[in-house]
């Protein structure tokens, strides 16, 4: 895919090197555990010779892998593919077709906003593909080898010069190929279906199009009573045309129909889009002007958004990084979607809130002495001798210190100060150099709010009382490529809620097809990982148990991972499993302290041990949340490389080698005769 912008525009680029290091560490730890376990088992069965036997087996896997024959692998892959096809795996297409044939009956809702309808269609297609293919791939991959062993058809394969890795890789490749074909066909059908459904349901639109160099607003409404088209060209008066139906309009007024078609295609492109956002970090400034971690709590139990009070000094601060000249030379687009909380009705409930953005150039820095020790900004002062130099008092002595810039992502707000995330003891000095308040505007609460920042920003400077002009990149973006946007609500008594994702720099959008393809890629990678896990499990378990194990891994990795992370991180109140049972049986509230005695100490000790087990489970089970890309696409966003694509690819590849190792030794160390 051609990408005109570097990937580093994302706030946290995916670090493949770091990920590889972590993977290598995890796999090494896993292998060491495996070897220790195998040695213990071998000692029990073979005595002192046991560990030696284990050591003799270790080099066999790499040796097997090196001598792999692609022809044999493809032969087994093709056999697997044929087997699945001839065992009617393609019946799933029938179910898919049925869903699409009748799905629109239940999904078309003309009263719903178009973007919500689009969201429904996309979610429906991606969910249908995922949940139709998941059981197919899970059962096929978990039952293939056990069935071969049960039918003894594997006997005729393993008595040929076929290596165990070839069997495993061939099986994985065969199922993955089948999945690829299924996913591609279903993805293309899904895309066409979405496109047609959206086009069919787009009955109301208002678009400005270029007609002979003149901006022309085309408003189109298609209702049961008939079609009404309003055309406003430049300063010319509005022309209203009515027709009984769309086809009648086409027959009676072909030129106008062509105009509505152009507007319709443009509207379609606006609804089916893959936006590319650059997200920033969010912090707040309180009424006293001091930085604060969160805004006002309006009593909403969902704390995703916090609020700034209108008509006060409350501000929301968004810091964007990597705003280089290559993306901002022609200006920037800021897209916002804030939520209002009204304390009074005002003149008209339909009237939206008034909002103002200010662009701020900031310098964010820490200081270091000659020994590279970091000195907090609170102890720093300007040198009396040299106005460009700084001094600080360290251990009672005056030392000269140097200023170092800090990236916005490394800074957070604590105790009304900006501090370094890595060392919260270090206060970061944030100085405002230039401030450019933009014109205020009314927000649309349930739609896109796009503020276009031109390369030259013109604003009214209250201090001088003059209009000033600043260059966006040269004057307002700091040396680190950072731009700060400060948000203020101008309506007194009203509140404006926001979260990190509610304001972003919008880069030129990708086509919807690109975003949708990436989401389909996510589904495909998840299915591939299921294939890898399923085939591996089937090497040492029978079909039903292998299916169950793979399904549980999917369930835990998809749905229970946040809960598991909380348990392992000790964030769940009420203690571990045993403590929870005791609290339930004895009806002890989760916030009550347990009595301190030997019994409860033992229970906590056992829970600690079980927690270690859960820690291992959490680290063994793949995090399937990485593959959930439908949320991005359904909300009109492109799937980001660093946050979604790269982790998905990483997770899929990371499990391949350990699974191959487990599968190889499982097949090699078991008797393949079914009993």
């Amino acid at each position: 895919m051609h990408n005109e912008f570097p990937m580093s525009i994302e706030t946290q680029p995916f670090d493949f090197l770091d990920a590889t290091g972590q993977w290598a560490f995890a796999v090494t730890a896993f292998l060491v555990l495996l070897i220790c376990g195998a040695s213990g088992l071998a000692t029990m069965t073979h005595g002192v010779k046991g560990p030696l036997l284990v050591l003799r087996w270790i080099p066999r896997f790499p040796a097997d892998l090196i001598r792999l024959s692609p022809r044999r692998v493809f032969a087994i892959a093709q056999l697997t593919f044929r087997e699945a096809i001839r065992r009617k795996a393609l019946v799933v297409f029938g179910m898919f077709a049925l869903l699409f044939m009748f799905g629109s009956w239940f999904m078309d809702n003309p009263n719903e906003r178009m973007e919500l309808q689009v969201k429904n269609y996309i979610s429906f297609v991606l969910t249908a593909i995922t949940w139709l293919l998941l059981p197919v791939v899970l059962l096929l991959s978990c039952w293939g080898l056990p069935e071969d062993i049960r039918n003894r058809s594997l006997h005729t394969v393993v008595t040929k010069p076929v290596r165990k890795t070839e069997i495993v890789i061939g099986r994985m490749l065969g199922f993955a190929s089948l999945m690829t074909i299924l996913v591609v066909i279903m993805g293309v059908s899904g895309y066409v279906w979405i496109d047609r459904e959206v086009a069919f349901n787009l009955t109301v639109y208002s678009e400005t199009i270029d007609v002979d160099g003149e901006e022309t607003l085309v408003e189109y409404v298609d209702e049961d009573e008939g079609v009404i088209v309003r055309v406003t060209a430049g300063d010319a008066p509005t022309q209203v045309t009515a027709a009984t139906s769309r086809s009648a309009l086409r027959q009676d007024n072909p030129d106008l129909y062509a105009l509505t078609e152009r507007a319709r295609i443009q509207a379609l492109g606006r609804h089916l889009v893959a936006k590319r956002p650059v997200l920033g970090t969010i912090s707040f400034k309180g009424n006293d002007g001091k930085p604060t971690e969160r805004g006002v709590n309006t009593g909403d139990i969902w704390e995703y958004r916090t609020y700034i009070a209108g008509g006060t000094n409350w501000r929301a601060i968004f810091d964007f990084e990597n705003i280089g000249s290559e993306i901002a030379k022609d200006g920037l687009a800021l897209e916002s979607s804030f939520e209002a909380f009204r304390t009074h009705k005002g003149d008209d409930i339909r009237e939206s809130l008034l909002l103002q953005f200010s662009l701020v150039k900031v310098r964010r820095s820490v200081f270091r002495d000659a020994n590279e020790n970091v000195v907090s900004a609170t102890a720093v002062r300007k040198s009396r001798d040299d106005e460009n130099a700084f001094e600080a008092t360290v251990d009672g002595e005056n030392v000269t210190v140097s200023r170092f810039p800090v990236a916005a992502r490394d800074v957070e707000v604590r105790n009304n100060s900006y501090v370094l995330i890595g060392d919260p003891e270090v206060v970061v000095l944030v100085e405002e150099e230039i401030r450019a308040p933009l014109s205020s505007f009314n927000i649309s609460e349930f739609g896109e709010n796009i503020t276009v920042l031109k390369p030259q920003i013109t604003f009214y400077d209250q201090e001088s009382g003059e209009r000033k002009q600043l260059a966006l990149v040269d004057d307002l973006v700091n040396d680190q490529g950072e731009l700060r946007v400060e948000v203020a609500c101008l309506d007194s008594g009203q509140y404006l809620g926001m979260a990190q994702r509610d304001l972003f720099v919008r880069l030129p959008s990708n086509s919807f097809a690109v975003g949708f393809s990436k989401a389909i890629c996510g589904v495909w990678m998840m299915l591939c990982l299921i294939v890898v896990l399923g085939v591996t499990a089937s090497c040492f378990l029978k079909g039903p148990i292998a299916s169950l194990l793979t399904f549980v891994m999917l369930l835990v990795g998809q749905g229970f991972m946040p809960f598991l992370e909380k348990i392992v991180g000790g964030e769940v109140e009420g203690g571990g499993p045993l403590e929870s049972i005791i609290r339930i049986v004895r009806q002890i509230n989760i916030i009550d302290q347990l009595p301190e005695n030997t019994f409860y100490s033992t229970i906590k000790g056992i829970d600690g041990f079980l927690n270690q087990g859960l820690f291992i489970v959490k680290n063994i089970v793949p995090d399937f949340r990485n593959f959930q890309m439908d949320t991005y696409v359904a909300n009109g966003f492109d799937v980001p490389w660093s946050q979604a694509m790269a982790p998905s690819i990483g997770v899929t590849l990371a499990y391949l080698i350990p699974c191959l190792i487990v599968a190889y030794y499982s097949l090699s160390l078991r008797e393949l005769e079914h009993k």
């Binding site: 493809f74 001839r86 006997h155 005729t156 008595t159 010069p161 076929v162 005769e673």
Partner: protein, 338 residues
């Protein structure tokens, strides 16, 4: 021969636990130097899930199979024939003892390049057709496409399945499945062929073809190991046999040596009249021996069947008509006495 009289093969060391094995002292097939298969004190115990012994399938089995011979493993059901075969192929792991096959361990994959295996039942992929089946197994031997195509055609024709080449194996009869199973076992032109119950499921013609093929393989210098409980088949083709009973080796040696009754003599002549028979009896009795039976030799049922089928092929439409049923004029018939 008195079965209590043990003749121990010098090349096979006996374990302490080994029972006495009766073996012919006649040397193995000519030209056999290095054994193709060498089994020493082989034991196999099947265990349950908890590792407790369930069945002792083999107990201290020791034997050699030499290059170029047809070796038969005989025994009733559950005697350990198939277990031995699977241990040789590495499908099962021994509980004790050693095996080398073509000079390698059974778990060594490379040795399979030179081995062909026909399982007890043809455990093939039933969703493939004959051509696809042989092509698949050919690819497992890393054969080139042209080589595979040539061999697939040759072996399908050899086993007589050209007419059913494009039918899936699930539509095949048992005999046809055995034939395609045999073709897959031979696709790599192996040096050692292991046949587990090769004639099971075959009609007498198929059985004869299979036996002819085994003998042809032997003539080509290949080693064949077969296990069966159809004694006539084994007797027809095997050079040496081993008889297993409850996992133990009871007999081992050349077929003719094991079957020859050294204490008796059989004469076969053209048909004699009663006077001549009396005269012969008198001569024999004069030498201190006695005649136990005098009768006319009978053909085997297999020979009769094959002769009948062959004649039917040569004279199609000819049918058997019992003597009490008048034959129609149009059709050639064979009478009951014919």
């Amino acid at each position: 021969m008195d079965t209590n009289e043990a003749v121990t093969n010098e090349t096979i060391p006996e374990s302490d636990e080994s029972p006495e094995v009766v073996e012919s002292d006649t040397p193995a097939a000519p030209g056999a130097d290095e054994p193709v298969i060498k089994i020493r004190n082989l034991s196999k115990i099947y265990r349950d899930f908890w590792g407790r012994p369930k069945v002792q399938a083999l107990n201290s089995l020791s034997l050699d199979v030499h290059k170029g011979e047809v070796f038969g493993l005989l025994g009733p059901n559950g005697s350990g024939k198939t277990t031995t075969m699977k241990l040789l192929l590495g499908l099962l792991f021994p509980s004790g003892g050693d095996i080398t096959i073509l000079g390698e361990l059974p778990t060594n994959v490379e040795k399979n390049e030179r081995i062909g295996y026909l399982p007890e039942e043809s455990y093939l992929y039933r969703f493939l057709n004959a051509g696809e089946t042989l092509d698949f197994y050919g690819r497992l031997f890393n054969m080139s496409k042209s080589d595979r195509r040539e061999r697939v055609d040759r072996y399908i024709e050899m086993v007589g399945l050209t007419h059913a080449r494009h039918r899936q194996l699930k539509e095949y009869s048992k005999g046809m499945t055995r034939r395609i199973g045999l073709a897959q076992a031979l696709i790599n032109d192996p040096d050692l062929v292991l046949l587990d119950e090769p004639t099971t499921g075959l009609d007498p013609l198929g059985t004869r073809d299979m036996k002819d093929l085994i003998l042809k393989l032997r003539d080509e210098g290949k080693t064949v190991v077969m296990c069966s409980h159809l004694l006539a088949d084994v007797q027809d083709v095997c050079d040496r046999i081993a008889i297993l009973y409850e996992g133990e080796l009871k007999q081992l040696g050349r077929v003719e040596d094991l079957l020859t009754e050294q204490g008796r003599t059989r004469l076969m002549t053209s048909k004699l009249d009663d006077a001549t028979v009396a005269e012969v009896r008198e001569v024999i009795e004069r030498h201190g021996a006695s005649i136990e039976t005098i009768d006319h030799p009978t053909s085997t049922l297999e020979e009769l069947f094959l002769r009948t089928v062959e004649e039917s092929r040569e004279r199609p439409g000819r049918r058997f008509v019992p003597e009490d049923v008048p034959a129609s004029d149009e059709e050639p018939a064979v009478s009951e006495s014919e």
